[in-house]
């Protein structure tokens, strides 16, 4: 791959593009720093993890497994007393909702503040890839555990991650592994494993699914310990024939068999390219990335490094051509405007209204992305919420500090104010008809500009179609 040419052509716009796609963007000074560091150093810094866990202490709600089990017990023990049972269920529901809220806030903070933004972006990718929803799992602790699993393997071995998935309690519950047994195996997980997780639609037969489903039997979640258990008498330990290979595959054996299929690496590479760059990779680049993925035995870091240093990743058709996901919109704007993001109720509601509630993807395929993010109503919601979230004049936590972002010399005239604002929000100076429109908006205002004028300008700029692109 032509790493040299990526390094040679490295512009501030490229640095901004990389930070936005590989992470969640950055402030003007963070982009300047990445520009000065150069392509290779910036990519390596993004991919080499320096643990920052001390910044994000483990959640109170999840450290106490006993409490969760106690709630489960009180529901079970009150079965014969309808009033007490209802109360116990209500308590459990409230505890679940509280824990889910904390979990979402915790992850949003990680995305906003982590020194490893690419790892968090990959956790988001894996969450959409191995999509699992609270709506069915109903146990925030399982989802937290899954989220940590994604973080551990975020940039590491995809093979290791894929082998862990069938014994991940959240996934076990979401795709019905937890109840599947040798007498009548449940096909839900086996089907999605092939269609959505490892191979892609059309790369297998219905017979492959039926056979594979037999390997995912006998796995249970013990409600008392919340750990995964294997019940041999419920497991189908016989021979299974999948893709022409016959053997007594268990869950891990079957996942490894699928990982050895030639389609698997290309399937993942295409999905990673669509997520980070958009669309499909040029054929030669796609092939090179697939070879890298396969020859490294599925090292995600290796394939991302090649991708982020490939000139194709910086092609004009790639830059500012992707519709921001609601998460990118929220976290990215917070980084651009250097605001606090703690995952407040308001911020979580915004994500719900824009169609990306964490831990609640619409279905097992995850978020469709791209144009599916935008309808008339979500477009209007983005415009409206940009104002209320980031430009509130009250003491709303998370509003931009305009005095700090726009010092006196920038406020002097429309041109300097507009240029500074555009570089913050779009990573580039304004141009074309948009520039004319925004200057026209500023024309009747008094200068030096007041905070009210600046807030209105930012509101207008964040309501533009272009602001929805990254």
């Amino acid at each position: 791959m032509a790493v040299e040419s990526t390094e040679q052509d490295w512009t501030r716009g490229h640095a901004a593009h990389l930070l936005a796609r590989a992470g969640f963007g950055g402030s003007p000074s963070e982009i300047d720093a990445a520009h000065q560091a150069g392509a290779t150093r910036t990519v390596d810094r993004l991919l080499d993890i320096q643990e920052d866990d001390d910044l994000f202490p483990s959640l109170e709600s999840f450290s106490n497994k006993e409490e969760h089990i106690a709630l489960f017990m009180s529901i079970r023990d009150s079965k014969d007393d309808p009033a007490a049972n209802m109360m116990a269920k209500k308590q459990a529901r409230e505890a679940e909702q509280k824990a889910l809220f904390d979990l979402r806030a915790w992850w949003l903070q990680r995305m906003r503040y982590s020194t490893n933004p690419t790892r968090e972006k990959m956790v988001l990718f894996w969450h959409g890839h191995f999509a699992t929803s609270f709506m069915k799992v109903r146990n925030p602790r399982f989802l937290w555990r899954q989220n940590e699993l994604f973080r551990i393997h975020a940039l590491g071995s995809f093979r290791d991650l894929a082998c862990e998935i069938p014994r991940d309690p959240a996934m076990m519950r979401y795709l019905d592994i937890a109840g599947s047994s040798n007498t009548k195996p449940n096909e839900n997980f086996a089907r999605e494993l092939m269609e959505l997780f490892l191979l892609g639609e059309g790369q297998y037969s219905e017979e492959d699914i039926r056979e594979a489903a037999r390997a995912f039997t006998g796995y249970r979640i013990n409600p008392m310990t919340q750990d995964v258990a294997y019940q041999a008498r419920r497991a189908d330990t016989g021979d299974k024939s999948v893709f022409g290979k016959t053997g007594a595959f268990d869950a891990e054996g079957l996942v490894n068999l699928l990982l050895d299929q030639p389609e698997c690496a290309a399937f993942l590479v295409n999905k990673l390219w669509a997520f980070f760059a958009g669309g499909s990779p040029p054929p030669a680049t796609g092939k090179a990335l697939t070879d890298t993925f396969r020859s490294s035995n599925y090292q995600t870091r290796a394939v991302l490094r090649s991708m982020f240093l490939s000139p194709d990743f910086y092609a004009p058709a790639v830059i500012r051509s992707q519709i921001k996901s609601p998460i990118e919109w929220l976290v990215g704007t917070s980084k651009s405007l250097e605001t606090a993001l703690s995952g407040t109720r308001a911020q979580q509601n915004v994500l719900r209204d824009l169609g990306q509630s964490l831990f609640d993807p619409p279905n097992v395929k995850g978020w469709e992305g791209g144009r599916a993010w935008i309808s008339g109503s979500t477009f209007l919601a983005r415009c409206n919420l940009a104002g209320t979230l980031f430009l509130s004049s009250s003491d709303e936590p998370g509003a931009a500090n305009l005095n700090k972002l726009f010092p006196a010399e920038i406020r002097k005239n429309p041109e300097s104010l507009l240029e500074s604002s555009a570089i913050r929000l779009f990573y580039q100076p304004p141009s074309g008809t948009e520039k004319d429109r925004w200057l026209a908006f500023l024309h009747p205002k008094d200068f030096p500009a007041t905070n009210e004028t600046i807030a209105d300008l930012l509101r207008v700029m964040m309501s533009s179609p272009n602001f929805q692109l990254t």
């Binding site: 599947s180 639609e201 209204d353 097992v364 109503s377 409206n384 004319d436 908006f441 929805q468 692109l469």
Partner: protein
């Protein structure tokens, strides 16, 4: 400055309306000059006045509804043999005849059936059924053969063929995003959940008028090149070019144009029948209010999820069908109260039915053919098509007896008066569902 924007905006609107003389014509309700011209030029172009055109309401039951436990062949021993835990006892069914009964949760649909307002098409599916939720949903939405991929939906192709020049609200989806069924060469249709949030809000601004003017101007200014002397057809074509920025501009413009009208209508019209407080109930209630407000909408799209009952199906399925039944009954009752029963046809669908035999988790896995409902004042009530055999199966699944595109062809030809062979790109035989 504002004067210039004002002019641009009016220029845009007049372009939509086909001439400067149209300045005073309300944008949303009446037929456009362009559409009138086009209608004269090509007979298949339709125009909607909001008061007399036929309306189709599509109800998606997402997840794969267990058709066998919805319309139940209770006289067939094979049904009970395949479902020792999940079979609904014959004694509790709502019997339609000596062989077939509805799930006990469907009391409202049974009344509609008895009142001559409900048709049931049995065994609907397609050859080489796909058991993936997503792929099979796409097949239903695009009306293609199972081995063909299309990026345009069957309703979108209808809009392309028959609704050029119509308002974007010709298709309305209640939800966060438009369904694939609406995707078209010239995209039309809007999607929203809550009408009161479907607007540009400038609260908190120091200069609300300036902010709103600038917002309203953006879609238009970016299309100046396209606007000068261009027809609406080329404008829309340019917007559908596949470029994300163009897509965003078009969506923004449609949202601006539609939001005022939608809010006005929904604020003015309320329903008089109680709807279930569920996603589907709320969706159909909103549709009823939009119909009451004479929106120029031809196709409404609402959905209900949760039918993927791999485990512990019994209670879940009962609850889902009850919700469906309550929402559909309320909607039909509302249409009756409003005097619009004869203008509306409702069609339900699900991406597939479920396996004939239950699984070990008290649920059912992905299957194939299933029944669907067609409701309205103009339908021919009764059972249509034949129930698939319970013993001659394909990999444990029912073999379809009616192609879903025959249902589409019937609705397109006999209800929307559209050329089905042009839209479905094949001739499908029609069913005697209407008239």
């Amino acid at each position: 400055m504002n004067a210039t924007f004002q002019t641009r905006r009016h220029f845009l609107r007049t372009s939509f309306l086909g001439g400067a003389a149209a300045w005073t014509v309300p944008v949303f309700l009446e037929r456009t000059f362009f559409a009138l011209d086009a209608a004269a030029a090509e007979a298949s172009i339709q125009t909607a006045t909001g008061r007399d055109h036929p309306i189709l309401v599509v109800v998606q039951m997402a997840g794969g509804n267990d058709g066998l436990n919805t319309v139940i062949p209770f006289s067939n021993d094979a049904y009970y043999a395949a479902r020792p835990r999940l079979a609904v006892p014959a004694s509790s069914l709502l019997k339609l005849d000596d062989h077939t009964g509805l799930h006990p949760s469907l009391a409202g649909l049974k009344s509609l059936y008895d009142d001559g307002l409900a048709a049931i098409v049995q065994g609907v599916g397609y050859p080489n059924p796909n058991r993936s939720h997503f792929r099979s949903t796409d097949i239903w939405q695009t009306a293609t053969d199972a081995d063909k991929v299309s990026h345009h939906g069957w309703i979108g192709k209808y809009f392309d063929a028959c609704c050029a020049g119509e308002d974007p609200t010709v298709g309305v989806a209640i939800g966060k995003q438009e369904p694939l069924a609406f995707a078209a060469a010239t995209p039309k249709g809007i999607a929203f959940n809550q009408p009161n949030q479907f607007r540009y809000q400038v609260a908190g601004s120091a200069d609300p008028q300036g902010v709103e003017d600038s917002f309203r101007d953006m879609g238009e200014q970016n299309n100046d090149e396209n606007m000068s002397g261009a027809s609406i057809g080329t404008l829309a074509g340019a917007q559908a070019s596949g470029d994300e920025a163009d897509f965003l501009r078009k969506t923004a413009l449609d949202a601006q144009m539609s939001s005022d009208k939608v809010r006005e209508v929904t604020a003015k019209f309320q329903v008089s029948n109680p709807f279930p407080k569920s996603q589907l109930g709320n969706g159909l209630e909103l549709v009823a209010r939009l119909i009451a407000g004479s929106m120029p909408t031809r196709v409404y799209y609402v959905s209900q999820g949760g039918y993927d009952t791999h485990s512990n199906q019994k209670g879940t399925h009962e609850r889902l069908l009850k919700d469906l039944d309550g929402a559909l009954s309320a909607f039909l009752a509302e249409m009756k109260s409003m005097g619009t029963l004869d203008r509306v046809v409702v069609m339900t669908f699900s991406e597939f039915g479920r396996r004939v035999a239950e699984n070990a988790s008290g649920g059912t896995d992905h299957g194939a053919a299933a029944p669907l409902f067609v409701l309205g004042g103009n339908v021919r009530a009764g059972l249509h098509g034949s129930h698939p055999s319970l013993t001659q199966l394909e990999r444990g699944d029912l073999i379809h007896t009616t192609d879903f595109r025959s249902v589409y062809a019937t609705l397109l030809e006999d209800w929307l008066k559209a050329p089905s062979n042009k839209i479905l790109q094949k001739q499908f035989s029609k069913l005697p569902l209407l008239g």
